[in-house]
Symmetry: C2
Subunit: 205 residues, 2 copies
Amino acid sequence: MPPTAPATETKSRSTAEAQRSKIVSRAVRVFAHAGYHATPVAQVAAAAGVSPAYVFRLFPGKLALFVSAVEHCYERVRVGLIASADGTDASTPEEILAAMSDAYVDLIRDRDLIMLQVHAQSACDVPEIRAAVQRGLAELVTAVTDASGADSASVQRFVAYGQLCHLIVQADLASIDETWARTLSDGIQHPDDAPTPSRPGPTRD
Amino acid sequence: MPPTAPATETKSRSTAEAQRSKIVSRAVRVFAHAGYHATPVAQVAAAAGVSPAYVFRLFPGKLALFVSAVEHCYERVRVGLIASADGTDASTPEEILAAMSDAYVDLIRDRDLIMLQVHAQSACDVPEIRAAVQRGLAELVTAVTDASGADSASVQRFVAYGQLCHLIVQADLASIDETWARTLSDGIQHPDDAPTPSRPGPTRD
DNA sequence: TTTGTGACTGACTGAACAGTCACTTTTGAC
DNA sequence: GTCAAAAGTGACTGTTCAGTCAGTCACAAA
């Protein structure tokens, strides 16, 4: 810290914090590809344009870096969903939930958010990761419930079909033109990936 | 092979094949804990009571071993579900599907089958693993569709709630006594883990 | 100019692990 | 018993990777 330590921190003051943010957001992308165990820290460092050593300087370890990425990911999803609920002119809980479903499909267009969730879930045998997933889900489910006003069973269905989306993306079912694959992915597609735009799951049938 | 090569292979004939089976079934259990990337072959070997070198003798590599385990896992699930469909006295498609849902919840009691599916899904960036998952899903969805006679949307819902089960098990939501966690796991529980036995998902509401 | 400090890195270490290979032990046919 | 093939392993190798450490560089205050 500066010797006289004036109260005003005018400018550059914490390039480190900016780097930290940059590394986390790059980490979301990089970890999304192959997950926690299969992704070296060096790869995240390269994506952020810094040395691996510096990543360890800013984060206590690989695990903490991954957890930060997971938290960032859940927050982006939550913010996106809430924004869609606030932005829709729907009024009934089911309609708001349907708008959120559309927003979720749209959010996960780039695969990073969905794949990181999936990888975080599958690394839940690491206690710190499991805790992060639980925190993320807690906030997500609570936010969706509050914003939509939907009942428990509807929110459960929302999440179930969300998980189905994860499977479709992971296993790349959209690329398979067979009956069974269409059974799983019918009605759950990105508007411009398929001729029949629709919302995921029978939210009102 | 034997010198004169008689057509009859009387007894022991292929301890290796028996070992291979044993290793695969242990591999399901061991890989289920931490997944493909985080599980050393040595751990599978130890669980099967053989040396790591011998595992590499029976399998071309770690990847092939994992793929075999995944195939074994999907087959067990498929066989279990079909057996429940054959064994039920239900007659309508929805009732058969409900029986299968109960059977699935029962099948995954030991966590191994569910966790290996999850880990296989999350390792889908490895082409061979993705192909195995696709094959497994193809057979599973086809079998469920044929055995139940249910329509596409119902089978989709069946799978969606199955994926929700995966999330509940991975993140250990059953151990969390909070509203959001109950929202996700209500009605999806092992009969003896909760006072209110029920089938997963609103299959008839 | 000197001096102090935060940003940042190259080069290294130690451990873990996939895969190999030469070797020993077991088994079964004659 | 003998012999060949199959079953099975210990010891090794090359690589990858998390994490460390001593140090450089840019810059700001005095």
